[in-house]
Amino acid sequence: MTLSHDEIMRVLFAARPRLGAAAYVIARDAQAAEDIFQNVALKALTQDVTFAHEGALLSWATVSARREALDWLRRRKPEVPVLDNDVLDLLEAEGAAAPADTGRVGALRDCLEQVPATSRRLLELRYFEGRSCNEVAAEVGAGLDAVYQRLSRLHRQLRACVEQRLGGAQTEAT
């Protein structure tokens, strides 16, 4: 008994935020992380490989995403080193054990509506246009440390907002 294509797609889509984030930790490029997830999904469907159960698929996809991300980094940014393997193992293991991210993207979208335009510009430059923090600093006329601090603060605010919204939604559901 092996997973059907339907089941493979369902499982991979459900695990997409985790696999994409794991790829991002290595590649540090949001678009590359998306491409890596797509490649993993394509290989799951077209290569001569079968999966006896969901766990086997997720293990394979996690290993594949890491390998794809490392390949991408070697090809595109060979000068940028990456975390040690044992640290990546830890991150992936804890990520796999964390609860699923149902509704998180929608909550994040709502939270972004509350972010001031100047802060959104910072996120846009960093994560949409793939600029380095140095380039972002030059663009917005701030120092590098200030950009790190502002991004840090924004990530904290977004996390707090998302958790509040998800908590609120759960309360309403119950």
């Binding site: 294509h5 339907d6 797609m9 369902r10 889509f13 935020p17 994409g20 984030a21 790829a23 991002y24 930790v25 540090r28 949001a30 678009q31 992380a33 998306e34 491409d35 997830f37 797509q38 490649n39 999904a41 394509l42 290989k43 469907l45 077209t46 001569d48 794809e68 390949d71 940014k77 940028v80 975390l83 040690d84 640290v87 830890l90 991150l91 804890e94 990520g95 964390a98 991210d101 998180r104 993207v105 929608g106 994040l108 979208r109 972004l112 959104r120 846009e124 994560y127 949409f128 246009e129 793939g130 380095s132 440390d145 790190y148 601090q149 991004l151 840090s152 990530h155 977004l158 996390r159």
Partner: protein, 434 residues
């Protein structure tokens, strides 16, 4: 969340790729010993990935995936995979949600050209010099074409029924969803190559001239100058395609992935109208019988769009049957001519159209001719025969006026005023005989 600013700055520097060797050592040590730091790193990565999704409108796509899933049942595996990848990548380039600044200029347009952005924005009556934000450009109909220019001078030319999404996110990102694209790419910044993705392949370009065409299960790359790295998505294998070489990347991982020298098509060609259309050709085939020769009847064809409505002609189109994507099937010379044998049930104007490629596959221009209605010798069964020198055809793109040495990738014959029941029993292209 208890990570102090020092820890956080260290993680931010790691994600920025700006850490020194010592700092990487410190980051590894931090992450080994501090569960909060690991949670923060995962959190930032989740947010970064999700922010990308929001920019692409991807949460909506996930919903679509759930809705579409049952329709995949019973598909052949390769087609299924192609559809899945198309779905997965469908939201890749809709960056206009937060970034509506124009990134390309439409420098040439003929036929029907449509731009659509995120959140349903659509522009159908595009004029030359229109400036377009990231989004999708579609050319509809065999005779349509569009040329887009980025601010650095990079030119993209779409032809025929093609759909292309584009964005600039630190580098140029192109997704050719279907059809054919020619790209003349100026030198790109080191580390920021232009990326072109199709349902089956990805290419990275630092500066070159190439043509790429894709169908659901295969992508063909023809390089005119420079070199391009073609990566097959199904297994990640890659091949370097140099000038005057071509390669095909399909969903079949067992197929060879090699760059070869394409053979020049012959200088004479005759359409096989004794067989039904294949490989993207269009026409309603009728076998010989009742004293009539084998022939193709005209079928409705979208030739463009006017004031939002499709322009329909009735006719036939022929193209190369042997290649997985659009390829040239005859090489033109100065003295080339198109010979046609046809008849109609009603008087109607005839339109002859050819689309050409440069050697190496790049777009070479479209040409058309509307002969006078009295053209051609007429036999007792109502069949006209006429030869039309290519030099009498009008170029449709101002920067592609020459055809000699080009290959023909599509030839079309239609009646354009009404459905006059066009039938074609012979079509050939070759040297004009005196």
């Amino acid at each position: 969340m208890k990570s102090g600013p020092d820890k956080f700055e260290l993680l931010m520097r790691y994600l920025d790729g700006k850490h020194s060797g010592d700092e990487l050592h410190a980051v590894n040590a931090l992450l080994r010993s501090d569960a909060d730091a690991r949670e923060w790193l995962r959190e930032i990565s989740h947010q970064a990935f999700a922010l990308g999704d929001l920019a692409r409108g991807h949460d909506a796509k996930e919903h679509q995936a759930a809705q579409l899933r049952p329709t995949f049942n019973g598909w052949r595996p390769l087609a299924w995979a192609a559809a899945a990848v198309a779905l997965l990548s469908a939201g890749l380039f809709g960056w206009s949600q937060w970034g509506a600044r124009p990134v390309v200029t439409l420098t040439e347009a003929s036929g029907s050209v449509i731009w659509s952005g995120d959140r349903g924005a659509t522009r159908t009556e595009l004029a030359t010099s229109a400036r377009l934000p990231a989004g999708t450009v579609e050319t509809i109909g065999a005779v349509s074409s569009a040329q887009l220019r980025f601010s650095d001078g990079t030119l993209l030319t779409l032809g025929g029924n093609s759909e292309l999404a584009f964005a600039v996110t630190g580098q140029k990102r192109i997704q050719l969803k279907s059809g054919s694209l020619t790209a003349a790419v100026t030198k790109q910044p080191a580390g920021h190559p232009m990326l072109v993705r199709t349902p089956t392949a990805e290419v990275e370009v630092l500066g070159t001239l190439f043509a790429i065409s894709t169908e659901r299960e295969a992508t063909q790359l023809d390089v005119a100058s420079g070199s391009v790295r073609l990566r097959r998505l199904v297994d990640g294998r890659a091949v370097e395609v140099t000038a005057q070489h071509s390669a095909v990347a399909s969903l079949d991982a067992q197929a060879p992935l090699i760059a070869g020298v394409p053979t020049m098509p012959p200088t004479h060609w005759s359409a096989d109208l004794a067989s039904p259309p294949t490989g993207g050709a269009k026409g309603d085939w009728h076998a010989a019988g009742g004293g009539a020769p084998a022939r193709w009847h005209g079928v409705p064809m979208v030739m463009g769009r006017r004031q939002g409505a499709p322009v329909i002609h009735h006719g036939i189109s022929v193209r190369d049957h042997a290649r997985p994507s659009a390829g040239a099937f005859v090489t033109l010379a100065t003295g080339s001519a198109l010979t046609l044998r046809w008849r109609t049930q009603k008087p109607a104007g005839l339109l002859l159209f050819i689309s050409t490629q440069l050697p190496g596959g790049a777009f070479g221009g479209n040409f058309e001719l509307k002969p006078t209605k009295t053209t051609g010798a007429l036999d007792a069964d109502g069949w006209h025969t006429a030869t039309f020198p290519l030099r009498s055809f009008q170029p449709l793109q101002s920067n592609h006026a020459e055809f000699s040495g080009h290959g023909v990738s599509v030839a079309i014959v239609t009646t354009y005023e009404r459905d006059a029941q066009l039938e074609v029993t012979g079509m050939s292209i070759g040297a004009l005989t005196p």
